[in-house]
Amino acid sequence: MVEIPEHLLKRSQAARNKAESDGDEAPAEDAAPEAAEPAKVATATEAAPPKPKKSGNGGGAATKLHTHRLLTVVKSGSIQPPKPAPVDKVNVWPHLLVIEFLALLACMVFLVLFSIFVNAPLLEEANYNKTPNPSKAPWYFLGLQELLAYFDPMIAGVTIPGMGLIGLALAPYIDKNPSNHPEDRKFAIALFTFFMMFWTVLVIIGSFFRGPGYNFAWPWADGIYFDL
């Protein structure tokens, strides 16, 4: 049941009291014009609760009055709006398509210019008998290779990346926090940033700070052992 607010209860109590006191006096007044029509209406609206008629209440004329009234407390917002609240939208053409086209153009210009001025590496032909020192994986796997330098292959090569990927894929099912406001999800953001930074640092170390024998090397002193 909906709880009836305090002020409404008070009002109804006041109306009830008034009706009772009126009930005692009204017949005396109403009796004179002999139960006129407007008086009936007034009584019907004034008499708030469905009160059983009192025996001494106005005699025969009063028994025909409407003494019932349906009361409903309507709380604000409890009625479903017929339409969802309008969302501020813009036309895809031209607003979105123009932006997409410009982004695509900028990307293409950057790619073509970069490709004109920087050549992709092509070292000498593959040779099984000549292992380069150091041998490095592609840059996005260098974090893994870096981990392999510290841990057992079972841990560094399989367990950590496997758990990482599964954890990443399950992120939406683990993170039950419904909010997407940064201030509500400090922990999630901190955790994600920590892992991203951890990974980036490993990739940078593996790329630039590892030299012959996959030993530590300073890029400014020993040179860079890195090919894209």
Partner: protein, 260 residues
Amino acid sequence: MANGNGGLGSKLSDKGKQLTEKVQSSQAWTSIFRPGSIFSKGYSDSPRNRSYVIMNSLVYHLHPVKVKRHGVKVSYTLCLGGLSFFLFIVLTITGIFLMFVYRPTEAQAYPDMQAMMTSVAFGTLVRNMHRWGAHLMVISVFLHMARVFYHGAYKSPREFNWVIGVQLLMLTLLLSFTGYLLPWDQLSLWAVTVGTNMMGYTPVFGREMRFVLLGSTEISTNTLLRWYVLHVIMLPFVAVIFMAIHFWRVRKDGGISGPL
């Protein structure tokens, strides 16, 4: 300034208008540009026509007629997802170009690479674009993922689209990695040796998986063929299917995620 020149100019522009009208009402033109297209006859800019532009074009498969206003802000998405898709298309086109020159065997791969860079018109440029575009795509897919995480855009109802996105990230890495071997230079051979050795440590079926992928116990001409097929057909095929589901889900899940 109403001299002879002005008269000629207005006459020319009248002729131009007539010609445009004639071309635009020709059967060929109307058969190519559907009603509502910005190239169709009598197109004028109005909110109604802007809707028709999308509804009557291929773009409708990708975008709705209207999107949330905050969604078109470059600072919200940084265009990273769209650029990843665009780079995939660039890589497909440049990759097809490279396929005309390249043969995936131990004897021919490296000489073909050299020929591409010395005697094929635009060979070096296209190869460079393919290589740098691939690295760029790995970066943009990765940054797209980070962007989505920081906006909490993976939350209900978009959980599953995030899972598909993680698959797409792995597919991107695999595409890049399989392409790494194909030039058949020292960098390819030994980077892939290191990479596949890591794979061999997988418990239970690590060795078997490595054998299937290499086509032998060590990298050989079999490996080259297998990785070539993976790189040019199988992985792109799977990636396209995943992308189709990814884009479709973006719209089914209510478009781009809400403002912060």
